[in-house]
């Protein structure tokens, strides 16, 4: 470690301590400042592009730096962006709209904290919407932390809309069955009996003494299923195990990585609707008119995408330049 690096580390620590103890909270940039910052960012990228064209290539840490800036700055900026609704999110929403009040919806939470940034906004919006619509929610998870994520989503929903907390009763309006290990085999066995897989809920209440689960034996008593999935087991397993075998009706919210793989199922009608990643979350928030995290994050997301695209172009400029040289 040289002296410059030591100073840099000290400065960074000082910055975070100042931010923790001294900064006014929350920090917000005015619109003018936001626009100036955006223009500055664009200009530096342009300079890098020109430099590359001249033959001076940047190292990858510069890319890291720009991605970091593009992700962080919009948190503090004041502007709104239009969110277009894609047909598959609209379809998911429409299917939910069609359900009459009191319909039983199985909500399968198959993700963990590392993938929560993408899926939690959808989950919160879904909970808010479902509770306001009076849908009955049965929560379960094939990932150990899924049910905890569901609990957090419900807590957030209650914090944002306080009147829900009085209206919604555990056991009557929703139940959390908890986690069960066994991946796709849990899905298959639930086709015969939910109770066999979840003898009690997460609080050790016996299955039969939970009001919402009265007359719920298996998928045939479920009106709809919504799956939040970050990998395996997830939407693919639900489609193979529950939709194809037991004709369950289902929509899914997926991390963006998973989403492209789900499109063939969507086109084949095995899935009704699909929300992919942060964009899907933002669209769903717009449809349900509960603006929250995803609507804020989508701004950073846009900036980051723009930066990545610019770097792809810069990379290709360097590539073509190098190729012409060789010739």
């Amino acid at each position: 470690m040289n002296i410059k690096e030591v100073i840099a580390v000290i400065l960074i620590i000082a910055f975070f301590l100042c931010a923790y103890f001294l900064f006014p909270k929350p920090v917000e940039f005015s619109q003018t400042v936001s626009i100036i910052l955006t223009i500055l960012l664009a200009l530096t990228l342009l300079v890098i592009g020109v430099m590359t064209f001249m033959g001076r290539y940047i190292e990858r840490r510069v890319v890291f730096l720009f991605v970091g800036i593009a992700l962080t700055l919009p948190f503090f900026m004041q502007f709104d962006l239009p969110v277009p609704i894609s047909p598959e999110v609209q379809a998911a929403y429409d299917e939910l709209e069609k359900l009459p009040e009191g319909s039983k919806v199985l909500a399968a939470f198959d993700y963990d904290p590392p993938s929560a940034p993408e899926l939690q906004p959808m989950a919160v919006a879904f909970m808010k919407y479902a509770f306001q619509r009076g849908l009955k929610i049965i929560i379960m998870g094939l990932w150990p932390q899924g049910p905890q994520q569901a609990d957090q989503a419900i807590q957030t929903a209650f914090e944002v809309i306080p009147e829900l907390e009085d209206k919604i009763k555990y056991g009557r309006d929703y139940v959390n069955l908890g986690f069960q290990s066994g991946n796709e085999f849990v899905i298959l066995r639930m086709g015969e009996s939910f109770k066999a897989m979840f003898p009690t809920d997460i609080y050790n209440t016996p299955y039969d003494s939970i009001p919402i689960l009265k007359n719920v034996k298996n998928y045939s008593n479920i009106d709809y299923c919504f799956n939040f999935s970050a990998g395996k087991p997830g939407t693919v397993e639900w489609v193979q195990g529950a939709v194809d075998r037991f004709n369950l009706k289902m929509s899914a919210g997926n991390t963006a990585v998973q989403a492209p793989m789900a499109y063939p199922y969507l086109q084949a009608g095995q899935l009704d609707g699909l929300m992919g990643g942060m964009a899907g979350g933002a669209e769903f928030e717009k449809l349900t008119e509960h603006y929250d995290k995803a609507t804020v994050f989508i701004k950073s997301q846009s900036f980051a995408h723009a930066v990545v695209i610019v770097f792809i172009i810069i990379g290709n400029v360097a590539f073509f330049r190098g190729r012409r040289r060789k010739k």
Partner: protein, 224 residues
């Protein structure tokens, strides 16, 4: 005999499980479940092999080779700490009233999970944001027609799925809006390509499975 018995096991088990799919009658309908449970139990045994291996390597480094001492001792210590809380909370939970699980809120194990494990793994995961950007910068080149198609599809999807796409083309007629193009790419070429891959994988899987069941493929038993 050392090779024949495992091959016989593979053959019998493979065939029985395959045909169980068509037979809803007990006990065949339970076979998938039995396999899954057995696999879980075997995995629970096997992980001891793995964990012991990891700890052995770390201890050898600390005491014999004297290299990476700090690094290896952190591995051993953090391993022992979470294993201790895992067993302690788990056993405590069994005898408590009401019964609780080792991963319930308020246990030491859960605290370690929430603040140590999950923040470390989430950040590791999040580093990919930077790596994906640098990979885009360094690897995604329009080398030939195929690579160009990949790039164009990728860029259109990236633009179309976030609001900037609409900011750029929102004033144009529907057919020229990037978000519509992105939707089209996702729903048409992507579906077609994924489908070809899926059908291919399914067939490859059938053929590989058959080779395994028939005993043609036995590298896992040490080749021929």
């Amino acid at each position: 005999m050392r090779r024949e018995i495992p091959m016989a096991i593979t053959f019998i088990v493979g065939f029985v499980f395959l045909f169980a799919y068509f037979i809803p009658h007990p006990p065949f309908n339970e076979f998938e479940n039995t396999f899954n449970d057995s696999f879980s139990i075997i995995a629970a045994f096997a992980i001891w092999l793995g964990a012991l291996n990891l700890i052995k390597i770390s201890l050898v480094k600390i005491f014999k080779k004297k290299s990476d001492v700090l690094h290896s001792s952190f591995i051993v210590i953090s391993f022992l700490v979470i294993v201790f809380f895992g067993f302690y909370d788990g056993i405590r939970g069994l005898y408590a009233d009401p019964v609780f699980s080792f991963r319930d809120q308020g246990t030491g194990f859960n605290w370690l999970y929430e603040y140590v494990y999950s923040s470390l793994s989430a950040t590791m995961f999040a580093l990919l944001a930077f790596f994906v950007a640098s990979a885009s910068y360094r690897a995604f080149r329009a080398r030939n027609l195929e690579a160009t198609i990949l790039l164009i599809a990728g860029i259109l999807v990236m633009l179309g799925r976030v609001p900037i796409g609409d900011l750029m083309t929102g004033w144009l007629p529907d057919a020229f809006q990037i978000s519509n193009w992105a939707n089209w790419i996702m729903n048409i070429p992507n579906t077609a390509g994924q489908r070809a891959i899926m059908i291919g994988i399914a067939l490859g899987l059938v053929s590989t499975s058959l080779r395994i069941i028939l005993g043609l493929e036995r590298a896992y038993l040490g080749g021929d």
